[in-house]
């Protein structure tokens, strides 16, 4: 398998070989994934044989329950054999290098690696070193990318809003440390969303974030005005330990999504959250459980998206 030199995710025919980031993926591939996911959701058949005989390795160098489980369910519904490896507590603690771990697993005839890692770029590194017929799917790397989350968010938005070409989307909170925000921004710009806003204090926005094609707001009330979609980002507790924020309470006061702030958005605006939520920190329970919230459908769509990505890759031989 010859990889495309200008885009390490694509093969020479321009088809998806690895899914490492949504940045630089052609819109056709994003639409293909969204359409395929829709066909999986439309069927009553619970199990399809598209990955029969294939081994999918869940390589989680960082703990995760939801993402790992949804990948596992998706792979099993495609009839794959799934092997879960919690590397965080096994080989790495024995001092085995990442490369050795990957080499060993490749020797076990893996077909697909689902990788979660604490460092940005780790899935790129793994993709560069695996045998040519192995596919790598990024399940979240550092602050860089979480492409299947970004895709399931796009699926959710499309499901409720139909069309991206006249949407205003706000992404609120800790953009600096968020792989979800970066993935959403790249997907939204690729799919033609005309206005993306990021909202947060200066300590939680990366330098020159405008260059990603977004508008910056520090005042949440102003930023939410007339938006169609609100994505709330998870605020990690450890952010309070440095000098990035004074307290969860003060963050909630300025950037927590409450009913009165949400009222500034369009009346039919939807609320997304990648989970797990911190109720009372970035989002009020009344909003999280309210009628504009699409947080639980996101999880359902997530399984279909992961099935779509895996089946498309497996079909690109």
């Amino acid at each position: 398998m010859w990889l495309n030199p200008t885009n390490p995710q694509l093969d020479r025919k321009g088809r998806l070989h690895h899914l490492l980031t949504l940045e630089g993926l052609p819109a056709e591939i994003l639409w293909q994934i969204l359409d395929t996911a829709k066909s999986f959701l439309g069927t009553k058949v619970k199990k399809v044989p598209l990955l029969r005989g294939k081994s999918v390795f869940n390589l989680f160098f960082e703990p995760s329950t939801r993402t790992r489980t949804t990948f596992e369910i998706a792979a099993k519904r495609l009839s794959a054999d799934v092997i879960n490896l919690n590397i965080a507590v096994s080989s790495q603690s024995k001092g085995e290098s990442l490369l050795d771990t990957v080499d060993n697993l490749s020797a076990m005839h893996a077909d697909m690696f689902i990788v979660r890692h604490g460092e940005s770029g780790a899935p790129h590194f793994i993709a560069r070193h695996v045998a040519a017929d192995i596919h790598v799917i990024n399940a979240g790397d550092g602050r860089h990318s979480h492409p299947t989350q970004g895709l399931l968010d796009m699926y959710t938005i499309r499901h409720y809003k139909k069309d991206f070409s006249n949407l205003r989307v706000a992404i609120v909170g800790d953009v600096l440390h968020s792989r979800v925000a970066r993935s959403q921004i790249h997907a939204l710009t690729t799919l033609g969303c005309p206005e993306i806003r990021v909202i947060g204090p200066k300590t939680l926005l990366p330098a020159n974030v405008e260059q990603l094609g977004v508008h910056v707001h520090h005042d949440m009330r102003q930023g939410l005005k007339d938006v169609d979609v609100v994505t709330m980002l998870r605020l990690q507790n450890e952010r309070m330990q440095g000098a990035l924020l004074p307290s969860a309470q003060e963050f909630y006061k300025f950037y927590g999504l409450t009913g009165d702030k949400l009222a500034l958005a369009k009346p039919d605006a939807i609320v997304l959250h990648p989970g797990p939520m911190n109720r009372g920190v970035e989002i009020d329970s009344s909003v999280a459980d309210g009628k504009q919230s699409v947080i639980l459908p996101q999880v359902t769509f997530g399984i279909a998206i992961r099935m779509a990505v895996m089946s498309i890759m497996a079909g690109n031989k």
């Binding site: 990442l98 490369l99 940005s120 770029g121 780790a122 590194f125 550092g142 970066r182 330098a207």
Partner: protein, 425 residues
């Protein structure tokens, strides 16, 4: 031994000479330039037709990894790399293990280097014991042992008072202090320039203010104490502008940049290429252009290789976990020529940055071709294209962003004290 270097293009940046002239060497010294001394008969004639004959190169920052890190590189391997790169004098920073904070360590290094009979090694002593930033080293003893300056390498001071006193003490005796301007707290956990790549890739960032905040402290204390300060490896447009201003007010400072930073930018990180993980980080194109302008107007005195051999395993990691640094001794000349070519800088001022100007910073008698002085000479082919491959590098460090690329210019002969210590086929 009498050597006649015949038919070459002689470039001596210090005197400004750039002409076709022969060089005549007797007993390690240059005895004539141009016309042969009467009755001269050479033991050896080096045909330098089509080649440039210039002073042996002077490198301000080459980590030899001895003592302590022999698994990364040895004095033998790195001295081979130096002469293969045309470098005949080099300064090595004190960040060895143990650091160069005792005369015995410095004497041992000088002794081992001298016995290899290759490039001349000028150790930079540790400014504080163990580079811990708390207690001063015995600087006078270290100078007697062979140190030419003092530095903290990349290690921080315990506090600004220690820093202040270190500069005062060094200034008392006129010792030079070499400092890397980077605020350790502002650079904490950072691995890339705080720009579009760090933002897109979600890499922990090192802001430009990490450099400028440190610089402003250094410049204020240098002014206050009158210490002779050399600034190592600047990386930003704002940083070199501060140095330009300080030089304008006649502050006694000099500065260098690493040769990589005259070429590469954050964009060269590509897709998390760990060979492009450098310290200081590669910054924006605007910074790169400002560094080039500062080289051209003399704000930056010298280019150094910032030679850092890194273990293969320490680079075979995700970007942020990889060890920073690149091998450089053998790339100093071709990358300097590349910069000169791209900016239409003449060879005389370009080579000055890696010979006479670097020697001036070091305060040593080197980097020039003068009758009666030691014959440290680099003879190189400015047109020779070569591919940067692990096998083509003598250094034990094979880590460079230039791996696999073709560069122009390579040493053909290197002479130290009138002896041919390196000769390529």
């Amino acid at each position: 031994m009498k050597i006649h270097i015949k038919g070459g293009r002689l470039i001596d940046p210090k005197s400004g000479v750039d002409a076709k002239k022969d060089v005549y060497i007797t007993a390690g010294k240059i005895v004539a330039i141009g016309e042969a001394p009467s009755g001269y008969s050479a033991n050896r004639v080096i045909d330098a037709a089509g080649l440039v004959v210039c002073p042996g190169l002077v490198d301000l920052a080459a980590r030899l990894r001895e003592p302590g890190f022999e698994y990364l590189a040895t004095l033998e391997s790195e001295m081979e790399a130096a002469i293969a790169g045309g470098v005949t004098s080099l300064a090595c920073p004190p960040d060895t293990d143990p650091p160069l904070d005792e005369p015995g360590l410095v004497e041992m290094l000088k002794f081992r280097a001298k016995n290899l009979n290759q490039a001349r090694v000028y150790p930079v002593g540790a400014l504080t014991q163990g580079l811990k930033g708390k207690h001063l080293t015995e600087m006078a003893e270290l100078v007697d042992a062979g140190c030419i300056a003092f530095s903290q390498a990349d290690a921080p001071f315990a506090d600004t008072q220690v820093f202040y006193h270190a500069l005062q003490y060094a200034a008392t005796f006129g010792f030079a202090v070499w400092l890397r301007p980077q605020d350790p707290a502002l650079a904490r956990h950072g691995v890339a320039h705080d720009g579009q790549i760090a933002t897109r890739f979600g890499l922990p960032a090192i802001p430009v203010c990490a450099e400028t905040v440190a610089l402003s402290t250094i410049l204020i204390l240098a002014r206050e104490t009158g210490a002779r300060v050399h600034l190592m490896r600047l990386s930003s447009a704002e940083g070199v502008e501060m140095v330009r201003q300080a030089k304008r007010e006649k502050l006694s400072i000099t500065c260098d940049i690493a040769v990589h930073h005259a070429h590469l930018t954050e964009m060269d990180i590509g897709y998390f290429e760990s060979n492009s993980r450098l310290d200081p980080p590669l910054r924006s194109q605007r910074d790169r252009d400002a560094l080039r302008a500062a080289l051209a107007d003399g704000t930056v005195d010298a280019l150094c290789s910032d030679h850092t051999p890194v273990d293969e395993d320490a680079k075979q990691l995700p970007f942020a976990e990889a060890e920073p640094g690149a091998t450089g001794l053998e790339l100093l000349l071709p990358l300097t020529l590349k910069w000169a070519g791209e900016t239409k800088t003449a060879l005389v001022p370009a080579l000055a940055r890696i010979s006479s100007e670097a020697a001036r910073v070091l305060g040593i008698d080197a980097g020039h071709l003068t009758i009666g002085h030691a014959a440290d000479i680099c003879i190189f082919d400015p047109e020779r294209l070569w591919k940067v491959e692990p096998a083509a590098l003598k250094s034990q460090g094979k880590n460079t962003p230039y791996i696999g690329l073709e560069l122009k210019g390579r040493a053909r002969y290197t002479l130290v004290d009138g002896q041919v210590v390196y000769e390529s086929k």
